[in-house]
Amino acid sequence: MTRHAEKDTAITGIGMSDVSRGASKSALALTVDAALEAIADAGLTRAEIDGIATWPGERVDGSGFSPVGCASLQDALRLKVNWYAGGREAPGQYGAVFNAIGAIAAGLCRNVLIFRSMYEATARKTAFANSLLRPGERQAGPFAWYAPYYTYAAALQQALFFNLYVHNSGIRPEQVAQIPINQRRNAALNPKAVYRTPITLDDYLASPLIATPLRLYDCDVPCDGAVAIIVSRIDVARTLRNPPVRIEAIGSSMQYRNSWTQLDALDTQAQPKVAEMLWSRTDLKPVDVDIAQLYDGFTYHTLNWLENFGFCDRYGAKDFIEGGRRIALEGDLPVNTGGGALSAGRLHAYGAVHEACTQLWGRGGARQVQGSPQVCATSTAGGPLAGAMLLVRD
């Protein structure tokens, strides 16, 4: 059997800046905070970081979507690396991790600093930074097919897919509501979460409709913040201070039409074959998973991932989450245990990796899942983007 390269890598340290709805520090300063914390957490020094990666790379468009790239952080920390990469065209946010696995397997580096920075809270105070459309500018590339139709935000494209999912699955709003209600309950126990006041079903149903069936509480929360993780070669990882969180398996494929309009299965998005790839690279099964940190750019993504990972049947998520007990901290499959992007802040799937390690290392404090969880499923992205990882405490 082929030796899968991800099994020879592990997460060895994590760091997170302050996360807020408006930072006093710059995006780069937040990123430095996260990076220094991750390096120290791994028991490494800056001199031992020999690779750096991010997704989607630095953007200077004022959106706050990715204000810091590899070059800025590398130079700020004066890192000397053998390999670096930041680029958008990848299996979603985890593209940076998948690239790092390849770089480690190729012998290019041993300890890779991977980070994701967001400055969307500040950006939205000064401009309409969410807009996918630039007034007076003609739109080129794949998004041109959406541009003339007042498609101002990704929420509208996702609402198209979500509505079809609602139509096909028959899920009701009060069932969907269990996702944000559960996450806000978890966020109340997470001191770093942006929103910590519990919400009720009535709050969910009363939250403004953005684009049917998406309500405000279905959407993640733009924030200012940064996450960093260290991915190390497994033999190096075993000499460091934390028990390695091994990358047991990844799903990085794109076996569908790579298009936001022609994607083969709109209501499952690109996730099924990504999950299938992940399970083909491990002997573990969905039943072995202790906790799940599932992408929640919109609640619908989390519903999709529950089904596509195989935690329940197709269109079975509505029954799986009914009443919220199964996905709660004390449930069979605790989901988004730190509050996720819906409540803790949109750290764009890297908040999820940080929370996965927090739980696997038993550092969850008031929100720590009991029974010493060993296996965490984590996933990113919607539409034609999808990536997944299975993380296992060594």
Binding site: R138, Q139, A140, Y150, A159, L160, L209, I210, A211, L214
Partner: protein, 141 residues
């Protein structure tokens, strides 16, 4: 108090492949790339048929009839003057249901739009372009 004018639509950048799609509406024609040998439709337009391995593919007129595959009713006023609610939809072409076109569904109450609804194309002029839009099919029951 006067309402601000609706915001202008953001228009696509035109290239040799998409020109027919965004301009043939001038003649009332919805043009979709079609393979000369197997007659499969190719969208987004690119002069290559993956079924035949041929580049003999060019824009051809289609009926302009289709059905709503999925849709959303947008309620949020993203910019001043944006008339809400409005419908964003993916429409499957009658000749080739695998081809999905983005459009607003116009000429009806947003609450009347349904999955599988029969729709027909019309063209909204904008600068030098003709933007394909869809409305309820007039022949629909």
């Amino acid at each position: 108090m006067t309402q601000p004018a609706p915001p202008p639509r953001t228009l696509p950048a035109i290239d040799p492949d998409n020109r027919a799609y965004w301009t043939r509406g001038r003649d009332g024609v919805l043009a979709i790339f079609k393979c000369h040998s197997c007659h499969a439709y190719v969208h987004p337009p690119v002069p290559f048929c993956p079924a035949c391995d041929t580049v003999a593919v060019s824009p051809q007129a289609v009926s302009g009839r289709g059905t709503v595959v999925t849709f959303t009713v947008n309620h949020k006023q993203w910019v001043p003057g944006l008339p809400v609610p409005y419908v964003l939809a993916l429409v499957a072409l009658e000749e080739a249901p695998e081809v999905r076109l983005v459009a607003n569904i116009t000429h009806c109450d947003p609450a009347e739009v349904t999955f599988g609804m029969a729709v027909e194309v019309w063209f909204e002029p904008a600068e030098d372009l003709w933007i394909p839009q869809f409305r309820p099919a007039r022949s629909a029951a």
